[in-house]
Amino acid sequence: MYVSTLCVSWNHFLLTKSTFSFSLSDAVARVWDMRTKHQVHCLTGHDNTVGALLTKGTDPQIVTGSYDSTIKLWDLAAGKCMTTLTHHKKSVRALAMPSYENTFISGAADSLKKWVGSDGRFIKSFTGHKGVINAMAVNDDGVLLSGADDGSMNFWDYNTGHCFQQSMTVAQPGSLDAENGIFAAEFDLTGTRLITCEADKTIKIWKEDEHASELTHPIDMKNWRKKSIAEAKKRY
């Protein structure tokens, strides 16, 4: 009898807690004036956490990716949503943008999707990375990294969507295998070093293999062709 009441009260607590936290979560992006500390805009519209952001100098100046698996493009002057992209099936946790062209890419657990930066037209889906993608980074060379929750890292050719390397991070000695996971990644400004922030409490610095060449690591054109044809036939 006592146990059951405890259970009921515990359930009640959980329920109230969840509703309570719901009232607290705002799921908005806020735009602040840097100097005056005032809030310029409150970009509301997402149903869940805004997990990723992009800012650009041209419209749409703000792109948000949310855990409600949508991407919204915002008009900064009006503070209103211009476009909502609902192609993703899983929460969007990462956004990345190259410096050399007006496109951006969004990462979710189902796939990575590339978009036109100006109006959010869909360009291409990069499939093949299984895992919750937490981090993405693009360098000026056209290398895209997607890092997932399980420590898997995929390196893609940003322009075509060809995955040229799939690797796993190695958890540092002393930590558990389960502590693989990439939370953030960034290329340095020259694009020659990649820094990943990981779940094993370390920061890892990656660089290109200077001994590799096109002969030692050729592009697997056969599989690439097969994959491209299969994707062309498939309606996404």
Partner: protein, 357 residues
């Protein structure tokens, strides 16, 4: 346009057939609006075929589109073929091919060959003429395929999308070994020129060699033709250095605009700033400074490009602005009702964007 004039006997034999084929060709190579006028010119050609001009040559002359430098185009085609397919170019040496066709039309074989074979040979010759004069530049109307007899087929089309590519493949397998396939791709992608021409003879097609046109067009014998972009080669990445300094998960990273240092924020509620050059060689003094002040994991970091400021956002609803000259918090941005998961700065305006839970 130098077409070898056939012998008078050959001309008489071939004249009605070639007139027919050129009529058919006209329907394919031109859209319906212009086809009627061309038919008229063809009929005049047929009546005047006893004169010195070959009907073939007259027909091709009539088809020259305006504003088109055939010589220039011919040179471009030759150059493209030579550049892209050096091995094919030798096989496609135009003069040799023409001689071969003429040799085939010798008196011995003339008796044996059927009407279809003759038509195919004629078409082939015509197509070669076209290739040289650059008339495959003209867009194909209709379905883009042209039946010659029962077996041979001439396909002239532009590969614009998947549908027509598939169609090309369907028509591509010819029964009689006399068909010539001329396919011009006109997709305005970055990799190919506006009019790159691929020519394959039937031997190559039977071998099923994949033929790439400018890195875009991949020809496959077993599957449909698709435009497949050629990926750029990148060197594989390998692990160079491991920095273990944080006491919890590392959740965020930001680079200094001068590329000298980077900041990381972790679940241990601190922000650490590292020197990039020293960190790359795993030097002991890579860590420059540790900033404490957040009371929950730090989820967003950004360096300002125009100020010596570092912005940080945490799951504790706080958004802070650190002055890196004094290493102190100089501003707070209040307003989020829950944890802040993302933070970015506007590239040109003095604006800060944060995304909340």
């Amino acid at each position: 346009m130098t077409t070898a004039a056939p012998t008078p006997s050959q001309q008489q034999q071939l004249a009605p057939l070639s007139a027919q084929t050129s009529l058919k060709r006209s329907r394919i190579l031109f859209d319906t609006s212009s086809s009627s006028s061309i038919n008229n010119t063809n009929t005049t050609n047929t009546t005047s075929q006893t004169t010195t001009t070959t009907p073939l040559a007259a027909a091709t002359q009539a088809f020259v589109p305006p504003l088109f430098d055939s010589q220039l185009h011919q040179q471009t085609i030759k150059r493209k073929i030579r550049l892209q397919y050096p091995s094919e170019y030798s096989k496609l040496a135009f003069q040799a091919e023409e001689n071969e066709v003429d040799a085939e039309g010798g008196e011995k074989q003339q008796r044996k060959e059927t009407a279809t074979a003759r038509a195919v040979r004629e078409i082939r010759k015509e197509a070669l003429d076209r290739l040289r004069s650059g008339e495959d530049y003209v867009e194909a109307g209709g379905d883009g395929s042209h039946d010659v007899g029962a077996e041979g087929r001439l396909v002239i089309h532009r590969e614009v999308d998947m549908k027509s590519s598939v169609m090309h493949n369907n028509h591509g397998d010819v029964g009689l070994g006399g068909a010539l396939i001329v396919s011009g791709s006109n997709n305005t992608t970055a990799f190919s020129g506006p009019n790159s021409t691929t020519t394959t003879t039937e031997q190559q097609q039977q071998k099923g060699q994949p033929i790439r046109s400018g890195g875009i067009l991949v020809k496959r014998d077993d599957d449909s033709n698709t435009t497949i972009p050629t990926p750029k080669w990148h060197a594989p990445w390998k692990l160079s250095t491991v920095l273990s300094s944080h006491l919890g998960w590392v959740r965020s990273i930001a680079f200094d605009p001068h590329n000298t240092m980077f900041a990381t924020g972790g679940n241990d509620r601190v922000i650490k700033i590292f020197d990039l050059a020293k960190a790359c060689v795993a030097s002991q003094d890579a860590l420059k400074i540790t900033l404490t002040g957040h009371i929950s994991p730090v989820r967003g970091l950004a360096f300002s490009e125009r100020h010596p400021y570092l912005f940080s956002a945490g799951e504790d609803k706080l958004v802070k602005c650190w002055d890196l000259e004094t290493n102190q918090v100089i501003r707070h941005y209040h307003g989020h009702l829950s944890g802040v998961f993302a933070l970015k700065l506007h590239p040109t305006l003095d604006l800060l964007v944060t995304g909340g839970r």
